[in-house]
């Protein structure tokens, strides 16, 4: 054991160098290589160890290969038969034992980390419990302790452990926030998967669905918004505030009959669609139309809502929302009116 550890230690400088190198890769809010929380860091540490060992292996193999290929090329006119070597017991034992040692160096911390990752926080009083349900092609988040349900944006208090319960309403999905933690599947057979992570730094992180779930699998994205404790409390409070309907009573009627058959606002019961409560404050519409007033990464929320409502299929092929115009019989004015209402429906 001691020996193993020492060998591992010798690899440390290289691990550190590698870490620095890899940390240059990708966006901070998205890349596995730039972990922003302890769960992702634990995976990243193992990855660095593994990559280091593997680079050592590759270097050995490649140098031997290069040497052999240069040194033992057949020269013109070479006719004599090389010695027919049967093998070499000592050498063969060496290249059996060395890989074994390398495997042990990797296996020990792996097993440790496996059990550490298996630690779930579902009974931890300090953890925020969130029930995640995957739907083709959107994510539902229920804060069981607070009686709040939302969709697409997972708002969490920075630094706190979040205890997840994962399930699905239809097919398999996989819940993945690369910069915060590894992924976990949502199984349809009633078995609930539990895991947890925390995001010490405030910010918005990109989440993805990692299991093929239909045509719009690639668009089944979501955001994790890590905010201060106070902001989180405030968010909870305004989520619980009574729902706001469009001011124009006629528009309100249309909205209720056309949209609220599936969607919920406020604490209304959820239908087959995501909750729309406070959608004006979200990071995205439908998970992929990014709300961005500067127009660099997306468009202002009003534009995004209009894009979605005028043709949901072209945004997310195969999704289950009826087309407001074609299927629900709304006029362009009504659609734009609803879009304006939703864009203005913000949480304070």
């Amino acid at each position: 054991m001691m020996k193993t550890w020492q060998a591992g230690k010798r690899l440390l400088p290289m691990t550190a160098a590698l870490g620095l190198l890899l940390a240059g890769c990708g966006r901070e809010d998205l890349s596995v290589l730039r972990p922003q929380g302890p769960a992702a860091e634990s995976s990243f540490d193992l990855m660095k160890l593994a990559i280091t060992i593997m680079i050592v292996v590759l270097l050995i193999v490649y140098s031997i290969a290069a040497y052999v290929l240069i040194r033992f090329r057949r020269k013109p006119g070479q006719r004599e038969i090389p010695e027919q070597v049967e093998g070499n017991f000592k050498l063969e034992v060496i290249w059996t034992v060395i890989p074994l040692i390398l495997v042990v160096i990797l296996a020990v911390p792996t097993v440790k980390a496996v059990f550490a990752a298996g630690n779930d926080h579902s009974n931890d009083k300090n953890a925020v419990k969130v029930k995640v349900t995957g739907h083709q092609y959107w994510w539902e988040f229920e804060y069981t302790d607070y009686g709040v349900k939302t969709a697409q944006d997972l708002v969490i208090p920075a630094g706190k452990d979040i205890a997840f319960e994962l399930s699905t309403a239809d097919v398999l999905h996989s819940f993945w926030v690369p910069s915060l933690a590894g992924k976990m599947d949502t199984n349809p057979d009633g078995t609930v998967n539990r895991f947890s992570f925390s995001a010490p730094n405030e910010g918005v992180y990109r989440g993805k669905c990692a299991e093929l779930c239909g045509p719009s699998h690639g668009f089944m994205e979501f955001k994790v918004k890590s905010v201060s404790e106070a902001e989180f409390e405030q968010w909870l409070a305004s989520m619980k505030a009574p729902a706001v309907l469009p001011e124009d009573p006629q528009l309100a009627e249309t909205f209720k009959s056309a949209c609220l058959s599936c969607h919920a606002i406020g604490d209304g019961t959820m239908g087959s669609g995501p909750s729309l409560a406070g959608i004006g404050s979200r990071e995205s519409v439908a998970g992929i139309l990014l709300n961005d007033d500067t127009g660099v990464d997306g468009a202002p929320i009003l534009d995004n809502l209009k894009t979605w409502l005028h043709d949901p299929q072209s945004v997310k092929p195969g999704n289950y929302m009826p087309d407001p115009k074609k299927d629900l019989g709304l006029t362009d004015e009504e659609i734009d009116g609803i879009a304006e209402y939703l864009a203005g429906y913000t949480l304070d």
């Binding site: 890769c25 890349s31 990855m47 290929l69 049967e86 059996t96 890989p99 792996t110 199984n187 045509p215």
Partner: protein, 612 residues
Amino acid sequence: MDWITTVDHKKIAILYLWAGGFFFGIGGLEAILIRIQLIKPMNTFLDAQTFNELITMHGTTMIFLGVMPVIFALMNAVIPLQIGARDVAFPFLNALGFWTFLFGGLLLNLSWVMGGAPDAGWTSYTPLSSTTYSATHGVDFYTIGLQIAGLGTLIGGINFLATIITMRAPGMSYMRMPMFAWTTFITSAIILFAFPAITVGLVLLTFDRILEANFFNPLTGGNPVLWQHIFWIFGHPEVYILILPAFGIISEVIPTFSRKRLFGYSSMVFATILIAFLGFMVWAHHMFTTGLGPVANALFSVSTMLIAVPTGIKIFNWLFTMWGGQVRFTTPNLFAVGFIPTFTMGGVTGVMLASAPADFQFHDTYFVVAHFHYVIVGGLVLGLFSGLHYWWPKMFGRMLSETLGKWTFWTFIIGFHLTFFVQHFLGLMGMQRRVFTYLPNQQFDTLNLVSTIGAGLMGVGMLIFLWNIFITSRKPADAADDPWEDGRTLEWTIPSPPPEYNFKQTPLVRGIDAFWKEKLAGHKSMTPSEPVGSIHMPSATILPFLMSVGIFIAGLGFMFSRDTFGSDVLSFLFNNYIVTALGLVITFGSMLMRSLFDDHGWHIEPEELEGR
């Protein structure tokens, strides 16, 4: 006609090669389309549904219909020759295996023109592959097509087992068998144990979809995770079915072109057996994120890492085979030499994936796509190229052009690394696999562009190879018996291409690398172990072809048994299982014919042999 009725292993090899090449071409085309779609973010070249069908068919086609038959082609062409046999143990079954494979593959690909290809990924995870979420007949084509094709593979595997166990030339003990024969033997054993698992899985899924059974339906108590277990209990050994033959090829080519015997032969044999054994113990490493719990994850992590040990043994043994030898850079050896570093890359990323907590990040991302393409393309396909160039003169009597071969090698391997190396980083930077497009500004754009360019270059390599085959086929068939001059094994002792009966007299084997040994002793040919005598040959027959046609018709009939058709006649025929029955009558009728009419084959008499 000759080709439809043949039972000669050499001709069946060629059939496998053309059929495999055909499907490989389709799979390659699908890959190019996928890469074109991913060339830039938010591309609209393909729609999402078509894209999912393409990835599903690309994976399924490549694994089951593209590389497997090419492996079988080489095994058929070489194994009887290498062990000094006149054919495989069951020539009739050999033909049957080919035809069921071909008709299964055709059935699967019919889905493109008959209302929608399968779209649930080549792994067909339930419930996405259930009728609720995949309503076209696509997945039925998958289950039934693969079932029929799998039958062929199983038959082939059993045949090779029997052949290698019973038909080795006198003196060829197991520990004198060429490495390719060894890996074929072990591969066949894996097929024997792994294919029944997928057979059962496919039957259950078929019943779920067509007869409304509930094996995998969670709403009625079925278990979708069960499918994952069944699939991977087959699926993991399957990757060893693919890679072991490549190991065998490399172990033949490197000694030949180093003019040295294989270093550490017995440890190679031992490592092969160990890999096969461990291959069965690690299926759940595909399921680390399914939520099996830390105990299972820890066990499957460690057992997976162990595979690195026998694999490492092989790599070092190859390197030390060349050590002290005289390495010649012929096209086959270029591919073999290119195989070593490339496959090693795939191997080391495999060990990285084996670490479950790290795999929580790798799983279902482009990192995994990169890993398994390094193993399958960088390992197996390079191995197959090596083997094809190596044995081409033996199979066809013509040497492929060395110049074009080298062009093939360089374009293909450079294109390959361009395509797949960058994908490791795409995965680590957060790109999941099986996405039909991706949002801009995630730093995925450049790497995807590079990857697509690489894919194009690989395509060019393939075209050069095809061109090489084409111009070679127009040259006279005048290859020498031992065209590489340093052949070590029995296939190089007979003419290229070999006569129908392979060996006029069965040779006597006096050691490893039997031919090389004779050459060192100053002999030009093998010592025969029998006098020239009458040679018994099996008769050609169309029955295997008919049996497969029957199964093909029955499969189609079963698949559409619940559809309503525009025409009453069609509805009547399909809904009452009349089409299914018709197909089965053809198949069982042919079987009956086979049993009732004994065919004793025919003989080639000594006068005829000498008359040549």
